[in-house]
Symmetry: C2
Subunit: 340 residues, 2 copies
Amino acid sequence: AEKVLRFPGEVGVTMWEMGKEDPRRVIHSIKVGLALTLASLLCLLESLSQGIGQNAIWAVMTVVVVLEFTAGATLCKGLNRGVGTLLAGLFALFVEYLTADRPMPRAVVMGWTVFVIGAAATYMRFIPIIKKNYDYGVMIFILTFSLILVSNYRIDNTTKMARDRFYTIAIGCGICLFLSLLVFPTWSGDDLHKSTIAKLEGLAQSVEACVGEYFGDDQMKEIQDELSKDSIDQNCIKVLDSKYTDETMALYASWEPRYRGNCYKSPWQQYVKFGVALRRFGYTIMALHGCLHTEIKTPPSVRALFKDQCTNLAGEDLNTSLQSQPQILSDSMNRKDSRI
Amino acid sequence: AEKVLRFPGEVGVTMWEMGKEDPRRVIHSIKVGLALTLASLLCLLESLSQGIGQNAIWAVMTVVVVLEFTAGATLCKGLNRGVGTLLAGLFALFVEYLTADRPMPRAVVMGWTVFVIGAAATYMRFIPIIKKNYDYGVMIFILTFSLILVSNYRIDNTTKMARDRFYTIAIGCGICLFLSLLVFPTWSGDDLHKSTIAKLEGLAQSVEACVGEYFGDDQMKEIQDELSKDSIDQNCIKVLDSKYTDETMALYASWEPRYRGNCYKSPWQQYVKFGVALRRFGYTIMALHGCLHTEIKTPPSVRALFKDQCTNLAGEDLNTSLQSQPQILSDSMNRKDSRI
């Protein structure tokens, strides 16, 4: 019984901490609520004036599906949705035009068209480049195309329906883009930049801690205490497992329309390459750390010979240069990008 | 001009090779086409008999959105969609009941309800456990809830509309589940098993090749020629980068209703843990391989001392036991699982 009573409290605490950890989550939730309300009220207005009518629910649907956490993701989905709908509408009109004067029963034509187009478009979704960038657009294409053909069978005024639906989806996309690009925007690119910095720092600390542990240095004892064995591993594993999130963030970031002050388009693909290099470095640290726990050890007298160099390298040169990197990171990446 | 002419040919070749590489892709495409046609024809029948009417398009929509490549993914999405729709319907009726006799204008009530529920549900999507398993369901909940409330404002017969929509979505889910579970099903679990085996074999070959390169063994020369430096790295990196795909496959596999002959539920989480262990092993091999290219090398006379042991270990014991693993892999995992 106590557990049941405690449950809501625990959920509340989790919720609160989640919000404290990243306040942008709260902002995003409020934005979604706002967008939904706007779209719903728009539906009401439209239905009162009998303008767009039944199609107005598509605005609500677009808002729910398109509005994502980061601006890049929203833009990617919104454009995919818009273009997919437009193409599907045009294609449906084209099919309509081709089959208008044939003597075949319309149900047969419709069945075959839906089958062929559905299968072909689904197969196209397996092409890597389409899967990566336009998967959602192709899905919307299939969806809209079938829906228009099906509705079309009953309603004769296809052109008007296609136009109305396109308008409402455009309104929905407009609300989403406005809220995600202009009202407290969350940029994928910033997240990517921050996570790259965090990874650099984590690796720098790990190297320092490793060297400290190896030479049993007193100076390093403090850092070592902070960073126990587990946290060295944790830092590395976080870096090593970051491939998927990095690539997703870079993909969305590449949709974001942000030209920085210096007129370069931010080189997100460089961040991905840099991430690959960091992961390589991470493997080495993992191996280095594994070596600390082998049974065969170099005697302390021998260690003393190269102690200073190593400590300097790890503690000052490497660590400092890694930690000063963030400030110059994006600049140097820009320079690299413009040179290529 | 030549490039333009060659383009369709290249696309055709890519398409063909994609199909040859994994014929299940072709099957999946045909299945989607079939499901779409079924759902569309159902819409026609229904609209002719004036039964479900306008809501019938929801069956088409469900098919497009729910039918995924593997059975587990389809089941996961289908159940999420079904439950999300049901809950949203019930909730909408509840809100309706609460606000029925209030003197406030309905537009205000609706606006606030949509805002609060939308924001709260979106915030819930950030909770890790919900994000992992039920993200899609919560999205559908928000969508259906707003749509019902909005439509409701115009149509008074909410109950009938909610019921019709639920029926059509159930029909759509039914078609999808039938096609994905019973007609040439593609199981996530099988893919996970196969990818685990491929990773084991890749690592075994890498270890063997590394040892062969180190000792410059003639016996090993053949394997070494096959596996150049790059391919050792490739094997390892494939293993190291497999975290995300593994976890996705295990997640979907855990939705798949397959109890093997021995009555155990297949222990997909064990595969994930095993994948973590394999990645750890992969780091070591990367480090080992890096060591081969250092400048400081053990003289051949010293190497000869431990050559036999190492070669035996890598070539026979390790490799053989790793390669015989696949056959006993799932059994031993089952045993481990039942022991826990």
